[in-house]
Amino acid sequence: MKVKVLCRNPDDYVRETTRDIQRVPRNYDPTLHPFEVPREYTRALNATKLERVFAKPFVASLDGHRDGISCITKHAKSLSTIISGACDGEVKVWNLPRQECLRTVQAHEGFVRGICSRFCGTSFFTVGDDKTIKQWNWEAPGYGVREEPINTILGKAVFTGIDHHQREGTFVTCGQTVDIWDEQRSSPIRSFSWGVDSFSCVRYNPVETELLASCASDRSVVLYDTRESAPLRKVIMQLRSNTLCWNPMEAYYFTCANEDYNLYTYDIRHLDVPVTVHMDHVSAVLDVDYSPTGREFVSASFDKTIRIFPKDKGHSREVYHTKRMQHVICVRWSADNKYVLSGSDEMNIRLWKANASEKLGLLSAREKAATHYNKKLIEKFQHHPQVRRIARHRHLPGDILKQKRELREMREARRRKEQNVRKHSKPGSVPLLTEKEKHVVAVVE
């Protein structure tokens, strides 16, 4: 008689070494694991809740300045070092992990208007209200040695901003004109002006390194190419732009922070309409900085909040505020895409996590897998009302909330008015403008 016996191959269940992980035989037969969608939905809901529970974005506050922070810059080569300039002309170098000030320099009389780091990370430049450009060594001088700049250039007018070239020894300043300087020379190698009396910000394009953009006081954003003799083009908007930032991964996009509470992302090839209008702030936006991955940017506003926007979304995904944080003047995204730095009026620099609920430090493989799974679940069920409700909920201070409601009411009223005007005028005489088209006044060639 033939006897049939169930037998298994020992290779399937015996470990090769004792340090090997245990094999867990698993049956993926779908009939054994019913209710996939409800179970995953519950998991997604839990993941969303946990995400909100663990959302604790505030990491640290660096205090030591004796006046409002006017500008912050990252070190080009070191993640742990930043410099900040204050409104009393003081420049401080900070160590982030130790949360302490390494060095203090009285750099200028009056405001420090701009700081930029040299691409190699050996020195940095500051400009101030005293019409000077100063170059400083990153290394602190020895004990008892006075802090002296390597180089000082005295200009004819006040400089309001500075930025350094990505790979060459040239930098650009703005003030009454946009000047391009060689590090070795004491006079600008080229200066651009286009009937504007002052500029508030100038930035080099990090990808197409010869491109420049500046915000001018005539409500315009002007583009330059350092290889050309004249500026390229300018776009005039309804209100003034305070600062702008280029996308570090997409050469032809930049975002400017406007006085009309919005941010505008432009494609330099089509300046007549912004690509996206980012609206959520309830007061003038003062600064903007892209994440190094180019997927998101952070903006600082006069309404005492900072917001994180996805680059192609009209509304922010995150808002950070604290009771003590006043008007935020400058903001930077750290070069490892993990943190956001904000400098505000009340003399503090704050360090935030870029992802509010992210766990810092090394993660084990299982933790990593779990976070990825949870993220994916939230993404999968993002349209379900409960998940969306929880994921989108943010606490806002009362006055901001009030202002937000007020703004919404105003916008609604304006829309209604426009509709009425359209209704009572000749058809076609009042064109229907999209939100994007409303804010651009003209493009000047």
């Binding site: 996939e36 969608v37 390194t209 390229l232 570090p248 032809y252 895409n337 379900h384 060639e445």
Partner: protein, 673 residues
């Protein structure tokens, strides 16, 4: 004329005059701005007229008349040049040109940006060095001798003058080369080069051929080689008997090896699996036969055939199913296909058909085999049909199974027989008919009988579908399986049945259910709303009915609701009421990127967790979109890394990047021989 003289005189005076007080200025250093004070010549203030120059030209004999004439014309013409554009306009034009240029340059990023936006995963920082193993050269280049042991080894290696890095010649060879005369050396070098080249060609060829996966190709190749070898061997016997002897020895050796090994004896895993398949699969059978043939060939003694052969066959027999090694039948000794016959049917049955098939035999061998098998099967059926009268239940069941199987087999056979029998004459056709006909009759009959027996219904396929409405109302047929040994006694079972009947005596669950369902259906049906007002606009009173037109007009039928979900499911009631507690969790609108509800639902339906998917699948599906490295600075993109063809002029680059089709075209054009 007088004027000219005057000019000349003044010029002379200027040359002759010496200013003792004013010293000539010189530029001693380069500067951006050249002051008017530094460079000055005498007479700078005076205007030079065309006529001044013309005067001298007229006098010189070298100048051609043509130019003189042109100059004179020029002098006489009174037209002035146009004014240059004003500054604003020129600047605007300049800006326009510059902007166009820049936008064109920037647009070359378009593809990269789009690609990155669509990418499933982006890993930052970009352009990371691979963490895997590096190439040997890279490692060697960065390696330094450190420990004394290493130093010693290094010294030894270099002291021995052996080629370390695979040079072409060793030092000794080089020296010997030097010792030769120049011409000799040249010849030798050429030879070496040629040899090297040949070797590399050969290697390349071998590599290429080795890569070819086609089994057939290798088979053909091997066959050709064998043929070549045999030819060579024959020649060798004549010309070089010693060499031939050696070859013979080699063959002997291979024979010994073959005898020792079980390689071609159909005892391996593969062979076992084939042995199982061989019953059903011709190719498997063929492969096994080939293996055995190979064994036979290899173990054959070259010089004197001896008894070894039989032994070896017997060795092989052990593990092989017997039908594979069946002795060749007398019918067809030449045909190797007939070696592996499946069954030994009654010979008379075969002979009956054989007569008709005999003219087929001479033709395609595989075809004949196929036909033979076919015939065997057909005859089986015939036999069964003959005996239909006295079949047991078991047998009918068995036959049912067979008849169900037939369509698949038919297909297979149809495929196999295709193209093998070539019809050339009418006789051939007749033979084909004979072969095919019995099947043609058989095909419809088999399922018919099956259906007739199983359900006692007319044999239409549609009728065989289960009528859902009748499931509940009809009594289920008890199927008795005679071959299953039943343990429960008859009496016991009867007892149990009676107990159950007693327990559920008053219950008629099924009818209750049907009633319930019909009630629910009725509730869902639209009711007729009667809005007639009796007595309005006419006489009213007891016993008076509103007229027909009124009834028609004021009895309102509402539109029927959409069909119930359980309309076609007789044994299910699906409640279509919306529950409030669940509603708050449900998506009310179709979210943006989705085109229709089906799309959205399918996106939700697929689970992504590890409960339902294997590890790798989960890992793939939960892959994050952006991955960053802890503590690494993410630099902005560098143009040189992404846009390679920077060497071409900017204009060309822009032109090319704007039109990918053109690039493709150019590439295509270049590749074309």
């Amino acid at each position: 004329m007088q004027n000219e003289n005057l000019v000349q005189i003044s010029f002379f005076n200027q040359l002759m005059l010496v200013h003792p007080r004013k010293k000539q200025n010189e530029r001693s250093e380069a500067s951006v701005q050249v002051s008017e004070y530094f460079v000055n010549a005498e007479g700078t203030g005076d205007k030079v007229n065309l006529s001044d120059l013309l005067g001298t030209v007229e006098k010189t004999s070298g100048a051609s008349n043509k130019t003189k004439k042109q100059l004179r014309n020029l002098q006489s013409s009174k037209e002035t040049l146009e004014l240059p554009l004003n500054k604003q306009q020129t600047e605007k034009i300049q800006r326009g040109i510059a902007y166009e240029k820049t936008t064109a340059e920037v647009s070359c990023w378009k593809n990269i940006i789009l690609q990155n936006q669509k990418a499933e995963q982006m890993v930052f920082p970009l352009n990371q060095e691979s963490s895997g193993p590096k190439r040997v050269e890279q490692v060697v280049a960065g390696w330094k001798v450190q420990t004394p042991l290493e130093q010693e080894i290094f010294r030894l290696l270099h002291g021995s003058r052996q080629p370390v890095n695979d040079p072409v010649l060793t030092p000794v060879e080089e020296q010997s080369l030097k010792a030769m005369s120049l011409e000799e050396a040249k010849i030798r070098r050429a030879e070496l080069q040629k040899a090297r080249a040949l070797q590399s060609y050969y290697e390349a060829k071998a590599k290429r051929e080795k890569k070819i996966k086609s089994k057939k190709y290798h088979k053909v190749q091997n066959k050709a080689k064998r043929k070549d070898f045999l030819k060579q061997f024959d020649e060798m016997v004549k010309t070089n008997p010693e060499g031939a002897l050696e070859e013979l020895k080699k063959m002997e050796l291979s024979r010994m090896e073959e005898r020792m090994s079980l390689k071609h004896q159909n005892s391996g895993k593969w062979a076992k699996s084939k042995a199982i398949m061989a019953k059903y699969d011709d190719s498997a059978r063929k492969a096994m036969q080939e293996q055995l043939q190979m064994n036979k060939d290899l173990t054959q003694k070259m010089v004197v055939p001896s008894d070894d052969e039989h032994e070896s066959i017997e060795e092989g027999l052990e593990t092989v199913p017997d039908f594979v090694n069946d002795p060749e039948t007398v019918i067809d000794p030449v045909n190797p296909w007939m070696r592996g016959q499946l069954t030994h049917e009654e010979p008379e049955r075969r002979t009956r058909k054989r007569k008709s098939l005999e003219n087929l035999k001479g033709r395609g061998k595989p075809a004949s085999e196929v036909v033979e098998e076919d015939v065997v099967e057909v005859s089986d059926k015939e036999e069964e049909e003959d005996e239909e009268e006295d079949v047991s239940e078991f047998n009918t069941l068995f036959r049912l199974m067979r008849s169900e199987k037939t369509p698949g087999e038919e297909d297979e056979e149809g495929l196999l027989s295709e193209g093998q029998i070539r019809v050339r004459s009418i006789e051939d056709l007749e033979v084909l008919d004979e072969v095919v006909e019995p099947r043609a009759i058989e095909e419809p009959s088999a399922p018919q009988t099956a259906a007739a027996e199983a359900t006692s219904e007319p044999p239409h396929k549609k009728k065989r579908e289960i009528n859902l409405k009748e499931v509940l109302t009809k009594e289920a047929k008890a199927v008795r399986l005679p071959f299953l040994p039943t343990v429960v006694d008859e009496e016991e079972r009867d007892e149990q049945i009676s107990i159950i009947k007693e327990a559920f005596a008053g219950d008629d669950v099924i009818s209750d259910f049907i009633k319930d369902k019909s009630r629910q259906e009725a509730a869902g049906r639209p009711a007729v709303v009667d809005l007639t007002l009796p007595g309005w606009g006419e006489w009213g009173g007891v016993g008076l009915k509103p007229p027909r037109w009124k009834r028609k007009r004021f009895r309102i039928k509402t539109a029927p609701p959409p069909p119930r979900q359980d309309q076609k499911l007789p044994d299910v009631i699906i409640s279509e009421k919306r529950t409030a507690s669940v509603a708050s969790h449900q998506v009310s609108q179709l979210p943006f990127p989705f085109q229709n509800t089906a799309q959205f639902e399918s996106s939700i339906r697929t689970p992504i967790g590890s409960t339902w998917n294997t590890q790798t699948v989960v890992k793939n599906m939960t892959k994050p979109k952006v991955v960053t490295k802890l503590g690494a600075i993410i630099e902005p993109m560098v143009k040189e890394d992404f846009i390679k063809s920077k060497t071409t002029s900017a204009g060309d680059l822009v032109f090319l990047s704007n039109c990918p089709e053109k690039i493709n075209f150019i590439i295509f054009f270049c590749c074309k021989p």
